[in-house]
Symmetry: C2
């Protein structure tokens, strides 16, 4: 176990160095290919190359491929004891990630409409579902203690398990994609999540499920290496954008290691800020509250600070559900609300705007930093939930 | 064996139907994304969407993924006899194809320089090499009868076997890519090759290596389905172009089934026209004879026919090797040579130009048809070599 892990660390470091150097060389190529954006939170209007996540993602993929012989050696020596299950999982994970990279890049190039975007992670998770069905097809889940009286120790949820896996992939990819729009945020949060998963895996290496956690660790370290390299170029002031590609393949990577490593519930715990942001966004995503085309914070070029962006509507235009939600949010101080003549002006419902609402306008780099600190706090909370409290629900400490 | 094969045929047919319908819907998206070309052999100058090979390739990939449960069922019933080797091969083949699709599409979008293009199939064949090393690492080859006196029955060629595999992938991808430039030719030749491989696999199903041939067949039928659908849109007058993506992923598909099915030498036999075209092109590819930017045949808008394209140079400017080659080619009537004052005008060294040289100018659709007939003749020659003559070199009729 020690030798492959050290090899993995070395290979992760090399992948970092390679990614840091390759990205600047490809910038011009991306701009030429019409893959660029204008940074709306800057006073300049330079073309910033977009979708560079495909580069870090691809280097990550190649790194993992080159790591195969280190992880599994050469099985000819001992065919009987060769860990076929782990091996299938490994190649399968690579296939899922590669599939998502391809679809993410195609999305960036072809600009798929919003609703069809949800389809892409579903399609990319097909290999996972199919191979899981053929190789494992374990769809029993341990029932939490409080419900055992009715359901027993474990229950076979059959096809629901597959729906859960597919939805996890869709959630992980899109959750990162909607907590975005500030330099360094997409990659920053992904790096925090990856390090959190890696830390969890390290702790669990001494537990009964060490194999599954080692498997995950193998992926998380090179992922972190290549992503930090991307972050270096994407940090304020961003010289490259990461694209949907990055959010997609990152989310898929987390979903895949979570599912194949049998710790998908723990993985979700590291998404607390994303889950909050998603739930908070729902009223606007589902048009219960009017949603402007962009909900990004506003850049104030005079102060060089980011400010809360707003949406304007008439209270009477809301349907009953919208009215209930907005009053609920107001009660819990999740929105600030100003009445101007007979219209209401409120902040857009995103975590980024909420941060700006509470802490006031701030510089873009500081905003990203605050959001990443929240992500780290989320991880600490996740560990608190995972370790001391999990025993309330499950008896085996190492389980999920 | 019969049930999965029938399922495969049905799924191949469905993939054809889906591809035929999806391609026209995506044309506008590709043009908007700046992925288009102008057909130089037409009087109109409409934008023709480029790289649609990524669509047929991706549908092929998804089809193969959905086929996994049909091919392997659910192994929980009988874990001991589950064909793990075949299963690893299957997922590995998908990974290699997906990797090549991603790189091919990136090449189409980013326009990688010619020399770096050779790198792409090498990178995409890394999963194949790595997994082959870990899972099989069989690098012994059967020695042909005439050489057995010196080498014995079989010989372990070690790392050379890996170099051979890598080079096969590079060759297969580029061989299709350089026999191109006429509506329908890239896809047409690939379809002929795929059907040839499938025919060979069918014949061998009754032989001792039926498992490997069934494996290949599983890939060739859906590949043929999706590619014929693409051909329908790419045939004269082409409403879409296929892009490097198509040549890359097709070549990789053939290389992968050839290698993993242990019939790579036979696979190469189906590339006779490509091998000829490649050897014939070498003097220009290596600049021994001056090579214009494009070697495509010329379109004559007055007659609506394609004509042989030419290159002009002075005999005295050639180095000694160039002089030898050009005289050799002249002797074997592989070129036509006209002297104008002190310069030489000769056809460009491609199979397409050679056809136009021998049969005279012809309509583009007819030119493609003639070239595909040559491809079919190549297949017949391949079968003649493979079956009656192979026994001169090998004793086991089913081997390679």
């Amino acid at each position: 176990m020690v030798f492959p892990l050290i090899a993995n660390m070395i290979i992760a470091f090399i992948s970092y160095v390679v990614t840091v150097r390759v990205i600047p060389k490809l910038k011009e190529k991306f701009i030429k290919a019409n893959l660029f954006g204008i940074d709306m939170s800057k006073t300049t209007s330079d073309k910033v190359p977009e979708s560079l996540g495909v580069v870090s993602g691809f280097i990550f993929l190649v790194t993992m491929v080159l790591f195969i012989p280190f992880a599994f050696g050469n099985n000819l020596l001992d065919k009987e004891s060769f860990p076929y299950d782990e091996y299938v999982k490994f190649i399968l994970a690579l296939l899922s990630i590669c599939c998502m990279l391809l679809l993410g890049f195609a999305d960036d190039v072809l600009d798929v409409p919003w609703r069809q975007k949800l389809l892409l992670p579903t399609i990319a998770s097909l290999p996972l579902l199919m191979v899981y069905y053929v190789s494992f097809n374990i769809t029993t889940v341990i029932v939490p203690k409080p419900f055992r009286e009715w359901l027993g120790l474990s229950v076979d949820i059959g096809i629901i398990y597959y729906i859960y896996m597919g939805m996890l992939a869709v959630f992980c990819t899109n959750a990162i994609n909607i907590l975005a729009g500030v330099n360094g945020l997409e990659v920053g949060q992904s790096v925090v999540i990856a390090i959190s998963i890696a830390a969890f895996n390290f702790v669990e290496l001494s537990g009964p499920h060490w194999k599954a956690n080692l498997f995950s660790l193998y992926f998380m370290l090179p992922y972190t290496g290549t992503s930090i390299a991307l972050l270096k170029h994407n940090w304020y002031p961003a010289s490259v954008f990461v694209g949907d590609t990055f959010c997609y393949f990152s989310g898929m990577t987390f979903a895949v290691v979570g599912i194949l490593g049998h710790f998908s519930k723990t993985t979700l715990l590291f998404f607390i800020p994303q889950i909050f942001n998603f739930l908070y966004s729902i009223p606007q995503l589902f048009k219960l509250i009017p949603c402007p085309r962009h909900r990004l914070p506003k850049f104030n070029s005079r102060t060089d600070k980011m400010e809360c962006s707003t949406t304007t509507f008439r209270y009477t235009d809301l349907n009953i559900l919208g009215k209930v939600i907005i009053n609920l949010f107001k009660t819990f101080k999740l929105i600030r609300w100003e009445e101007k003549s007979n219209t209401i002006v409120t902040n857009n419902f995103t975590l980024i705007n909420l941060v700006l609402l509470y802490f006031g306008p701030m510089h873009e780099a500081k905003l990203t930093t605050v959001l990443l600190v929240i992500q780290v706090l989320g991880t600490i909370l996740a560990f608190l939930i995972r370790y001391p409290f999990a025993s309330v629900f499950y008896d085996v400490p190492g389980y999920n």
